[in-house]
Symmetry: C2
Subunit: 390 residues, 2 copies
């Protein structure tokens, strides 16, 4: 186990009806005037917007709003938000939505207190965010774990590069999490979120660090439960218990409590950024497409770790005479699970073409010499993996 | 899953050599003048005390000290600490030790800012601690999880009652955790700590709440790893990786991340308080004695939960024709594990006598009508369990 630091001061308010506490929480964490930041109209149609606004009004919190966040949020709305926040004297960002609204809100929060161009934190000019307006979250999708993470992923409108800013200052001060608000999500969004959180576990699980049994077991706990609940949600999207376990698993998968003291990979996430940018698929859909190919490309680096993945998470029987067979069986199980959720498993299914691969590889390696830790990926490796996934 | 709130803002600095960061962390969290609070002379003999003081001096932090904390800390030293802190203008408590030093330090921290008698928070006159001086920890034993918990357990010198004060204000602001400092602990202290953290998992695991698969799996992850590492530590007390997993497991077992949204039991902990008060055994030793009897007394309330405990944690084969057999096998496995660590499994072994039972039961029910949640324990139940454990 490597040395680590960990600090996760988000206040969680979890369960039915918790959105009624939003105003009180904004006040508790020092907000006076809030920017309500959200996506499309779903929160207005299902009544969540009204309940949140009522809670703010009841607590005497002023508010302005900025909607229109899209999946894979764009920098132009972040800049618009920064201008609005400065003009209106907003001192607190309230993201009501899933990962896209939260990440966009975090971009506004860091840009509002920074003299330069906020993109400096995404392109690495400034590597760590140390200051930002406080961000609160009312979560509407279980996916990115951004409600408790240090990260904000935004796509630059001009260059089409999807990049991540990070720092403890971006951990939300509170997250209101009512699983009921996820009942009405379309299946594509639900399963995109589920694949994303499972992928957050895998990016940590496939590590070159030895002696990580405790975090291994915690990751396995999350993955086993995510698998189980994905099936119960498919059978009944209104199963509160399944939705609750999935929502909390999504937070745990990315709060980094399971990633401490071990090298993490993130190669597949970085490859995915191009799929969702080029073809407008969801982040989770892109991850479901790429993970099987990434696994088949690099499992030979540590066959027993992949056999552990197969046996402990998917319940495969270990083939002690031929562990490679077990390792490959686990990858098949993962891919079959993606298909079970009616999600794509090839780049072709989302309209991708082989001729785009060089441009995707170029974007991915713009500013980074390599990617991944379990296996360090070069441009040739990534080209091969994209081709395998076609 | 029940609704829950969760807030765990402790800063963790984990790994080799991290005690050198103590001074910098005190400064980060606003301390100017520190009370160094500790137990016996071991931290002076092994050099930890000197390294911590050097770190404080390097950071320009003033300090006074109060040693002498005993296992099962007493209220008189807490009162002495409160007087000292007020007299010296101390604004930060630094506990260097295990659960006893931390809990005693928390008592000083809450008493220093309270006008009345600090015992009010232990006897329930004031049920929640909302204000306290900041507490930092340099951990020397993996056991109580007090380095990240809301609790302080202290025994009243006059009445001999062992009681718990709690509140978010008692969560330490930082915890410095270097597993190397646990290499030289005597086996009795090591295994007392290991039983304590395993017990913290069991008090949550045996719950009447249904649909708690995620926290179940996380608890199982911890218990599996605690079992494994106890064996590796017995084979080699200087195994850094085993000590590291045990130290971090102890924190997770009591930070309550695994107890959210479920009723928790704590009956065995409350029964144990009398054993350690009457017979001066360690808290962990008392828990190891009582848990098997508690389990045998109440497993019939939910045989399948005990079968789950047996199969998932101890790897027992499920007897589908007779689940009760599997449930009982798991209890035997637990008890055999206590014996494997050379820890006591009967009250007699620590000098206990049947004639003390009425007095212990009276103390336990002094101020509480019942105990436990998996099975609500009456005085008759507790009498029966104490007798089974004789």
């Amino acid at each position: 186990m490597e040395n680590f630091q960990y600090y996760s001061p988000t206040w969680f308010e979890f369960g039915r009806g918790t959105e009624a506490k939003t105003g009180e929480l904004v006040k508790k964490f020092g907000g006076h005037k809030v920017l309500i930041h959200y996506g499309g109209g779903s929160i207005k149609r299902n009544g969540l917007y009204d309940r949140v606004v009522k809670s703010l009004d009841d607590a005497g919190i002023e508010h302005v709003e900025l909607g229109g966040v899209k999946s894979n949020p764009l920098s132009d709305l972040v800049y618009e938000g920064i201008d609005l926040v400065k003009k209106e004297g907003v001192d607190f960002i309230l993201a009501v939505g899933g990962g896209s609204s939260i990440d966009s809100g975090k971009g506004i929060a860091l840009g509002a207190v920074y003299d330069g161009d906020c993109w400096d934190f995404y392109d690495g000019t400034n590597p760590v965010v140390t200051e930002a307006l406080p961000v609160g979250v009312v979560l509407t999708n279980a996916a990115s774990g951004s409600e408790a993470s240090t990260d904000s992923v935004v796509t630059n409108k001009d260059t089409n590069l999807k990049r991540c800013a990070a720092g403890d200052a971006l951990r939300p001060v509170f997250a209101v999490m009512n699983p009921e608000v996820t009942f009405t999500l379309p299946p594509y969004q639900t399963y995109s979120g589920i694949i994303d959180m499972f992928s957050h576990c895998m990016e940590r699980y496939f590590t070159p660090t030895k002696e990580v049994e405790l975090t291994d077991r915690m990751l396995e706990a999350l993955m086993i439960v995510i698998l189980r609940e994905s099936k119960r949600i498919k059978a009944d999207p209104n199963n509160y218990e399944a939705r609750a376990n999935i929502m909390w698993a999504g937070t745990q998968a990315q709060s980094n409590i399971t990633g401490l003291g071990r090298a993490q990979d993130w190669g597949t996430h970085h490859m995915e950024n191009q799929l969702s940018t080029f073809y407008k698929c969801s982040h989770g859909a892109g991850l479901g497409i790429l993970h099987p190919s990434w696994m088949r490309y690099c499992y030979q680096k540590d066959i027993l770790r992949f056999a552990q993945f197969a046996t402990r998470i998917f319940g495969c029987q270990m083939n002690f005479e031929n562990p490679e067979e077990t390792a490959l069986e686990g990858i098949d199980c993962f891919e079959n699970w993606i298909k079970f959720m009616d999600m794509p498993t090839t780049i072709s299914e989302i309209g991708g073409k082989e001729e785009d691969i060089p441009a995707m590889v170029a974007d991915m390696f713009n500013g980074a010499p390599d990617h991944g830790a379990f296996l360090k990926l070069t441009p040739d490796d990534v080209t091969a993996i994209y081709k395998m996934a076609l």
